[in-house]
Subunit: 384 residues, 2 copies
Amino acid sequence: MFEFTIIKKASGSLARTGVLKTAHGTVHTPAFMPVATIGAVKTVSSWELVDCSIEMLIANAYHLYLRPGDPYIREMGGLHRFMHWDRPIVTDSGGFQIYSLSPLRKITRDGVCFTSHIDGSTHFLTPEAVVDIQFNLGSDIMMILDECVGHNASEKEAARSVELTGLWARRALRHYKQQKGHFSSPGALFGIIQGGMCLRLRTEAVKELLELDFDGYAIGGLSVGESAKLRNDLTRHVTGLLPREKCVHLMGVGKPQDVLHAVDAGIDLFDCVLPTRNGRNGQAFTNEGPLNLRAAYYRDDVRPIEEGCTCHACCTMSRAYLRHLLKIEEVLGIRMLSLHNICFYARFFQRIRHALSTDTFGAFCEDFFARYKENEAQKGIVSS
Amino acid sequence: MFEFTIIKKASGSLARTGVLKTAHGTVHTPAFMPVATIGAVKTVSSWELVDCSIEMLIANAYHLYLRPGDPYIREMGGLHRFMHWDRPIVTDSGGFQIYSLSPLRKITRDGVCFTSHIDGSTHFLTPEAVVDIQFNLGSDIMMILDECVGHNASEKEAARSVELTGLWARRALRHYKQQKGHFSSPGALFGIIQGGMCLRLRTEAVKELLELDFDGYAIGGLSVGESAKLRNDLTRHVTGLLPREKCVHLMGVGKPQDVLHAVDAGIDLFDCVLPTRNGRNGQAFTNEGPLNLRAAYYRDDVRPIEEGCTCHACCTMSRAYLRHLLKIEEVLGIRMLSLHNICFYARFFQRIRHALSTDTFGAFCEDFFARYKENEAQKGIVSS
């Protein structure tokens, strides 16, 4: 079961709010997915995510294939049951991870041969195998195996990646259609649009995938070091070419400012490690901008991270205490910041959806940008 | 405010159950205190401790003096407010930590000079200063500065430690009585009984302290490598010499088996790092004995850690999933094991108190020892 319905479109923008129905329940879009790479959102439990109103997670097929293994997860009743998360799950194919984590890899038209970043063992994965892995996991939305290139790749390399990803997309989709009948509630399959930093190649990648019949589309290969301007332009270029009724996922992009640009360009789904990764580094998101809670500036600050936030950290802990926890390297500190940041993102997306449903998205963005200061809030840079 | 009332004594044993009233509320004894050394129980939040029915914590004056500093905590409204824990707090003086953590220390009759284990800075603490630190923290029960010796200490060394601890006890108590009037609800002060592994010196230490008027007594210098038999004998020897109406704290002893022996000897308060430290090592406590959840044996085990446990880990996660979290070194795993273990201890002590109040403690112990297997439950030692 997979149904995407646009509820309301913004005036004068490609932005829209909608509802995604899956076998594991409904997701309101634009939606933010915390990253549960190996079957857990770092430091945060499933019931805390539910408490924050998170509706969908993203996990990683490559990581779960290596540890604990997708046949094992299938034996354990699928990823939802294994990690006690009964809401929808997207799985990334792991194309990006294979290229970034594997010390040795060889790509042929047939598939990708790589050594595990964990134990150095050798593996060979085809586009078909990556679909099977995701069937084993029981994902609600599966991603095709893609080839990623860095933002400094030559046009020739990017062109080859588009061609190969297109070829793999065909094979993945054929295999998916052959196999899906064997599952009572097979997930949807999304195509991934590559093409590096080149508008022409992005157009070509979209054309290739539109010849096929995917349930939705993901835009890959961004947030790899390019400028925000280029990222925004490429995103808008791609969404402009895609059929309006399809659900679109912008992979790995998640700074609040970038999110607003991407929503404006018509993006429906987001995933990003920022709330948890930055939380582990002592950064807390607020509507005024991120706070670096390790800074001496917060030594005597008895206020919560953000007034009005209902997360457990904000309800019970001062910035001063959180700073103390970070400074003594107590896990409770990074746990609380991760939790707060996920709550912040959940609330940020709720407000985006509310703005879209009342057709006030433009005003919402203006208001947000007026308040949100990427750097000014980083008070007292000197940590002591 | 400090009032200890024995509610019921066991027949044929020194065991008793009672109620300890402090300015921050009531504690039912025998009570278990999780260890919040530097103002946090590792990985676990205050509201989770309340959820487990934990009534009192123990923190460490030495650690908090070094980081973030006791004058700072006083400015922040005291330790209770700083760490958002409104139930009673005991603080250990840190004598043990000064001796075990400080690379350089020099003890004189006046006090102890040591270098910080964090930044190598030099500090000098007197028995009076250690009382002042604990006033600043706002502890409900404060401990005198004591001198600890290892279990291999000579009788001469142990004798010197008894003499010095006795001298410091007098000074601490005098200072405490002079100062307590300056505080609206000053904590109680406990004397610490040292004396190494020698019954005669323990007797002498008790005699020294009984000449003074402490609110309660702590037995220190155990769990430093001695046998369980010797520890039990020494504990029983000391409690036999103490006035029955005083509250007695056995410091740092916490294996379930040892707890039962100590309760039988008349101990009222316990603190121990086992639930959190062993949790971080992958060990989960159950009524059948500890489980080593890293072991391959639990790979396919879909049961909770312990049937009937109401902690969040047991309500939502399988042993197999917890093992996976431990193997990928995900913080959520050690967090869940720490939480479960604290819940286990809270429940274990509830059952002890129930047995005492119904005068069935003997039967409870028999039943416990029949079920609890220290080693047999460590199934599948080979981790894979």
